[in-house]
Amino acid sequence: MPKFEYAPAPESRSIASIAESYGLFIDGKFTDTVDGRMFKTISPASEEVLAEVTEAGPADVDRAVTAARRAYEGTWAAMPPAQRSKYLFRIARIISERARELAVLESLDNGKPIRESRDVDIPLVAAHFFYYAGWADKLEYAGYGPSPKPLGVAGQVIPWNFPMLMLAWKIAPALACGNTVVLKPAETTPLTALAFAEICQQADLPPGVVNIVTGAGDTGRALVEHPGIDKVAFTGSTEVGKQIAKACALSRKKNTLELGGKAANIVFDDAPVDQAVEGIVNGIFFNQGHVCCAGSRLLVQESIEPTVIDALKRRMTQLRIGDPLDKNTDIGAINSAAQLAKIRELSKVGEEEGAARWSPQCTLPAHGFWFPPTIFTGVSQAHRIAREEIFGPVLSVLTFRTPEEAIQKANNTPYGLSAGVWTEKGSLILWMAARLRAGVVWANTFNRFDPASPFGGYKESGYGREGGRHGLEAYLDA
């Protein structure tokens, strides 16, 4: 029984009003499906049903694409950029105004702690719209020619790990460049996308500029393969990403993909240890490890391994797992039963491969999908848990001796999304950054995002960048 028990500190649910049932958002209005059906979205922390949501059928997708095309040709592409910019500023401001409500909705639907949705996700969502609002009327300065043009209608499919943030990463630059969009949120996390549709109405965004079609894999496929789409943007698993790449190769559609990762978080013996431990924890346990750029492989310099692992275990005993709506929760629920099964399976593999498994003592709630933060020590590159993306709060710990060996091990993967480097030596940071085959290198920090900072992968982590000036390229005919 701890001396200092933090009493329950629940964020109130009542601020987020959830309808019983949602249609599709097409041409500026919510509308019933013509050839789809309804399905339920649940809270992964309690398994309670939150709402009924539409699974769009092919005819629904067609309606949405048609509306987007009409809006593109009718109002949006020809609109003076400064006016487009002001719509995006409006959306950014409304998101800030409704921030608390959106954070609660996100935590309910996704399972992530309210502290994260409140302090990280939603502020970044507003910031993305604010940042790209400012580019809409400055495209001639973006380095893509004196008068870059949009592509047309973008079909966008996003994952469940950062639902509203992924929506912002897709929609903000697309609209800023003059495109219109049809976006499909993940099937387990549709609610903030549907709230976003309402925000578009509040901003008086012209109908058809943004369309939201909810659904699962089939809806996504229908969208991506629709001939009326000029540009495909996908964030999700490498497996599905490759399928989309194939389809786009044949249809000649421009596409960008942001896929999986197995990032190396590299800790040198002269690292600032306390901050490095925070970085390791942040790297793999933030968002329950449901992060494509998670630091899921700790590469710790062999001479300092005992110190770091001891400090890491001590730190992990302070992690609070529980109700995502409790403001003191550090680790929330696993997003779905399917994901939980996958994490369990790969953890079992880790044990079978001979790695040593450790988790701090924690009480997991009776209902919902939960997995304790876990580390495997004694892992080597030859192990499956060093190779395959687990997408959960599971860290594989490997060692290295020299900087060259760290590089080799870090790059020895088909993925290449991100990497972390911890050392007090500036030259070493820059030397490592130059050699790591990863699209994002975090030095003495981890999991930091900003709308001004380009994000994306090398190799099988995908191609294209989101964020910054570079993020405009995907949505311009450049």
Partner: protein
């Protein structure tokens, strides 16, 4: 018991805006501002050299905080200014009409331009470094990058005509990147600038970031042009003869001088003004194990 007489308006006093406060001139002087027909509009404060001195001190004091804020934060603050300008649209339209004798439609257009101009600049805050900075591929094991940084305290002589749109167009490009400003409003038409100060004071712009002086340009400008703690000066409001004198005085501490042929303020500006107030810092760092 009020009878059938018309209501007596509560007229505004037009003061200076220094360090976030609205003082009268320390000299106690004022001057008459007339409308386009020569009719009385108001007594505006007649700033002295000491007011100018105090304004520069306030601008210098505000500089670390403003230049140290994140670009995102500055962008947000500037956007908030636009929101409040929009809310006061009617007031600005009335003041611009009275000053220049424009039709309602024309005045509204100019005010809308001014608001949209402010929004345009707000969106630059977190993009300048991406457009005007670079990593430089030097021949050696070094990481080398160039970053734009604000030059410091900028003196601005606002244009004589276009008392709102011109004012916005010379002030916003200086502060968006983190500089602080002492601006001398149009001598003939200072009132919209003072109303804009009220907007600045209520929209999260820290005190001292923008300081507004009203008065005789020929009296005040030389003190700013020769001030050794001012880093740059925009001569937009000075005629050629005065501008020549000021440009020479500015060389004493090698101020960055902006002297552009401004014509139609309604056209979207180039990046000239924003870039004029940026220094470039280049950093080298070796890369090695």
């Amino acid at each position: 018991m009020p009878d059938s007489g018309a209501r007596i308006a509560v007229r505004k006093t037009y003061k200076l805006y220094i360090g976030g406060a609205f003082p009268r001139s320390e000299s106690g002087r004022s001057y008459v501002v007339t409308d386009h027909r020569g009719g009385f509009l108001a007594n505006a404060a007649l700033a002295s050299r000491k007011d100018a001195r105090d304004a520069v001190a306030a601008a210098r004091k505000a500089l670390p905080g403003w230049s140290g804020a994140t670009a995102y934060n500055r962008g947000q603050v500037l956007y908030r200014v636009a929101e409040l300008m929009e809310g006061r649209r009617g007031q600005f339209v009335a003041e611009v009409r009275a000053a220049e004798g424009l039709s309602a439609a024309k005045a509204e257009t100019f005010v809308d331009f001014a608001i949209d101009r402010w929004v345009w600049y707000a969106g630059w805050s977190d993009k300048i470094a991406q457009v005007h900075g670079s990593s430089n591929p030097v021949a050696g094991p070094y990481f080398n990058f160039s970053l734009p940084e604000p030059t410091g305290v900028v003196a601005v002589l606002a244009p004589e005509r276009a008392p709102l749109l011109g004012f916005v167009s010379v002030v916003a490009p200086a502060i968006v990147s983190g500089n602080t400003v002492v601006v001398v409003a149009s001598e003939r038409h200072p009132l919209p600038a003072v109303s804009l100060s009220e907007v600045l004071a209520t929209s999260d712009v820290p005190g001292g970031v923008v300081n507004v002086l009203t008065g005789r340009l020929a009296e005040i400008a030389p003190w700013l042009a020769s001030h050794m703690d001012v880093n740059a000066i925009d001569l937009a409001g000075a005629d050629d003869a005065l501008a020549d004198d000021l440009a020479v005085a500015a060389t004493e501490n090698l101020k960055r001088v902006v002297r552009l042929a401004d014509g139609d303020w309604s056209r979207t500006p180039s990046l000239d003004r924003m870039l004029a107030y940026l220094e470039t810092k280049t950093v080298w760092h070796p890369a090695g194990t």
